[in-house]
Structures are given as structure tokens and as C-alpha cells.
Symmetry: C2
Subunit: 241 residues, 2 copies
DNA sequence: CAGTGGTCTAGACCACTGA
DNA sequence: CAGTGGTCTAGACCACTGT
């Protein structure tokens, strides 16, 4: 199967699903197929591009996953009215995040206590009964400068072994990843002001704007941990699409 | 075509790609296949589950897309060491965002001027020559309360028709979507402090922590627009995975 | 160079849903 | 009911890449 160029469309060349996807996408971005318009069905497109229906199907399915088109049985495929697009952000492990910037990573445990689960946390984690939790405060540094403040609660009812773990060298994030590698989570991003304690740890002024990531984690329906990560002022989370 | 496949690993039912995916996922979350471990190849899995290789392939490909496993030709498929996971956030149109909460949407144009492109913007948009831009400031209200502040710059070299458009009734976002429905974009999230002007518009105190979304948009390599959306203090962007 | 995933195909049947 | 997408299959060849 020879391929002379990237030109396809209706010249009888065999197309890959990538060719089909990008050609359809360009038809959409160039306005040939405007928002809301009905596109040809899979059989017709397969004939147009000289490929099997499965190939067209994969291209169209990816376009649907990307939020570019909307598909419904019997009704066909339409270009979305509003490019209801989703942005995918990488949520990395702090250590990797820092090392990828070429900086030296340092971790430090600030405090470690066992407390009764406070009411606000019980609500967030959807716990019914009161129990105990391990409360950890840690700092992550990049090249010696404060980078991220970690305020973590671990549900001891679900993870009793956390009580005897040693968090002086290994951060709770990495300990959790090695203990329960995969789980369900809810992530929430927000902006907040640095209070006295946070500003002292981050080395910024009281009242600075910090970017905060909160994450709630469950495993098999059981609440494991809540963490609030506060970044140095000026931190950005960026992505392209 | 009779299908009397015996054993496929668990019960005796025929497997769809969803079955395969969720079964594999549960093997991973339950620790049966730990981080870094090599998984059986597609042919073996197909035999195990009593389905075609293409079915296994789809399940595994989705697991790879989800960041659960890592695949390399010849090397096989491994469970990822760290669940390098990505979070997908919906980036909705303000109007929809507000209306979906059941609130009444109101838009208001604050100011509209034509200015030379400032240096910081030229750098962000990767523009080489100086040019003019349309600078718009708008507010979006939910049930009459300030919800979002929009500070937008439109590159008039790329979109000259913006200069004569009327933004008193229709917001620039919706105008842009109807003019250039699909484009490339870079999105960046951060936290900032409300300055005097912003706090007046949002009705919050000076120095409040606002969640800001910045978006740079290109179409066919040409910079179209930069926008900074500032939300009412307390705003959150949430997702599950 | 051999093993593994990546993709395509032609055909089939199913599931949903609009007219 | 009939049209459209959703999925599965069995087989084939290709593209990488570790050994």
C-alpha cells in the first residue's frame, strides 16, 4: 500500500484512522462543516475515504471523545454547537514535578498527630461514624525553596497501618501510592489566601494568593485520605488542547 | 457462529471490551498485578477471556489512555509505577455554566477600546510585530450576583471584523465561538489577588483570593485572543476520576 | 530477528432511538 | 420499523524495539 502524500478526501487512496480524523477535523475547523450540521454516516465516509467502516468508526469515536462531535444512534453524527471541550491536566507526584524542572527535591515532615476526625472532614469524606485520623503536615522544597505545603488526613479506620508508618523520610503521597496504588479520587482546584502558618511555611507574605489542590481518595467505597496541597504564589497549572 | 467458549478466567460469560477492561482494572486495584509488573500479552489475554485480540486491544488501549498501564511494542504491557493520572476538567461557556446551576444569566459590557498590543501580551501570544488589539472588559452575573470577570484582548490583525462587532448584547466568548468555532488553545489556572478594579466588579474585598483561568487561542497558527477570567472568591473547579 | 502491540478489513449482529 | 452507531470476530500485515 503506497502512500504518496497526506492528501486524502476522495482520491481513492487508502486512509488510516488518523488521516480520516485529521481530514474531518480540518473540514470542521475550516468551516466546511459548521456547528450543528449533520455529517455523513459511517458507511458513506468509509466509501469517501476508501477504507473500512471500522476505520471511520475509530476516527469518529475519537472526535466524540475529544468533544468535537456528538453521536447518537439513528440520529447520526453532528458537529457540536459549542466546542464543549475538556482540558486534561496532569496531576503529577510532587517529587516528579520538581525533578522534571531540573531542581533538587527535598521533603520534610512538619508534624504528625492522631486526632479525632473533625466534622468538616467527615462530611467531605462521607464518613458516617466518628473515628480517628492521622494528620500530617509536610513541606516539599525545590532547590531548597519552599514549593508545596501538604496538609493531609489519613483515615485510620481504612488504613490502620499508617499509624505505624514512618513519614520522616518518605512522604505520605509516596507511601500511599505504594500501599494503595490505584483508587478513585475527586480533585478540586481553588484559590485561597495564605494564613499565618501557611505563609511561614511557604515563605510568602500573609494574605498572598495561593493555588490549592484538594484531593479526596477512596478505595472500594472506603474513604482513605484527604489532602490539601498549597503551592507557592505564582504557581500555574497549564495545558494545551 | 456458535460460541461455547469455556473458561475465560472468571465466570463463564462472553466478554465485551468493557468486561475485559474492568476485570483487568480490578486485578490491578486489588494488587494482583502490582505496579511495574508485566502483564500477559494480548493473545494470551484473548484466550483467557475467550474473545478476539481486537477486543483485548481496545480494553488495553483505553487503560493506556487512562494512564493506568504503559505499553511498548516488543516489551509488552506493564502496570504504571506511579498512577500518572490526568484529570479532565470541563471548560464550559459561562452562560451554560450558570444556567446549569439553575441561575439566571446576565451579561454586561464594561468597556471596549482599541489599543496597541502591549508587550506582555505580544510575548504571551508569540506575536512578532506590534499591532492593534480590541480590549474588552465584561462581567457575567448569576441571579444578579457578580460571577465572573472577563478581561479579553482580540488580535485585530487576525480578526479585523471584531472591531465592528457589537459586544453590548452578545459576549465576546459567544461571538468568537460563532466566528471561529474550533481552534487550538492553551489554558492556564492560577490564583491571584483582587485588585481595586476587580474587587469593585466582583463585589469582593480588595485582596480577596480569586481563581483565574487564562486562555490563549490560535487558529491555523495565528494568535486570535487572550482572555483572563476571574471568578468570585470561593469558586472551585472539580472533577472525579 | 523475533515478539509485541498497532492497525486495517470485511462481514456480522446488536442496541438504541427517531420518524 | 428502519437507520445509525456500537461492538465483536478472525485473520492479516505492519512498525517498532529489546535481546
Amino acid at each position: 500500500m503506497l502512500k504518496f502524500n497526506h492528501d486524502e478526501g476522495h482520491n481513492g487512496m487508502k486512509s488510516t484512522y488518523r488521516d480520516v480524523k485529521s481530514d474531518i477535523l480540518s473540514k470542521i475547523t475550516k468551516g466546511e462543516w459548521g456547528p450543528g450540521s449533520l455529517m455523513p454516516n459511517e458507511v458513506e465516509l468509509a466509501e469517501t475515504y476508501g477504507c473500512a467502516r471500522a476505520t471511520v468508526n475509530r476516527a469518529m469515536r475519537e472526535l466524540a471523545d475529544d468533544g468535537i462531535v456528538e453521536r447518537r444512534r439513528k440520529a447520526g453524527t453532528r458537529v457540536r454547537m459549542a466546542p464543549l471541550r475538556q482540558a486534561r491536566f496532569d496531576i503529577p507526584i510532587v517529587r516528579c514535578e520538581i525533578e522534571e524542572k531540573g531542581a533538587a527535591y527535598r521533603y520534610s515532615l512538619v508534624s504528625q498527630t492522631v486526632e479525632d476526625v473533625p466534622d468538616w472532614l467527615r462530611a467531605r469524606l462521607k464518613l458516617d461514624a466518628g473515628g480517628r485520623a492521622l494528620h500530617l503536615v509536610c513541606m516539599h522544597y525545590a532547590d531548597g525553596a519552599p514549593y508545596q505545603h501538604e496538609d493531609r488526613w489519613i483515615n485510620l479506620a481504612a488504613l490502620p497501618q499508617a499509624e505505624t508508618a514512618d513519614f520522616r523520610e518518605v512522604g505520605p503521597n509516596e507511601w500511599l501510592v505504594s500501599t494503595i496504588p490505584f483508587s478513585d479520587a475527586e480533585i478540586s482546584l481553588s484559590a485561597a489566601l495564605a494564613d499565618k502558618s501557611l505563609s511561614a511555611h511557604l515563605g510568602c507574605g500573609v494574605g498572598a494568593a495561593v493555588f490549592a489542590v484538594e484531593r479526596l481518595t477512596w478505595w472500594e467505597g472506603q474513604a482513605l485520605t484527604y489532602v490539601r496541597l498549597s503551592y507557592q504564589p505564582g504557581h500555574r497549572l497549564t495545558t494545551r488542547y
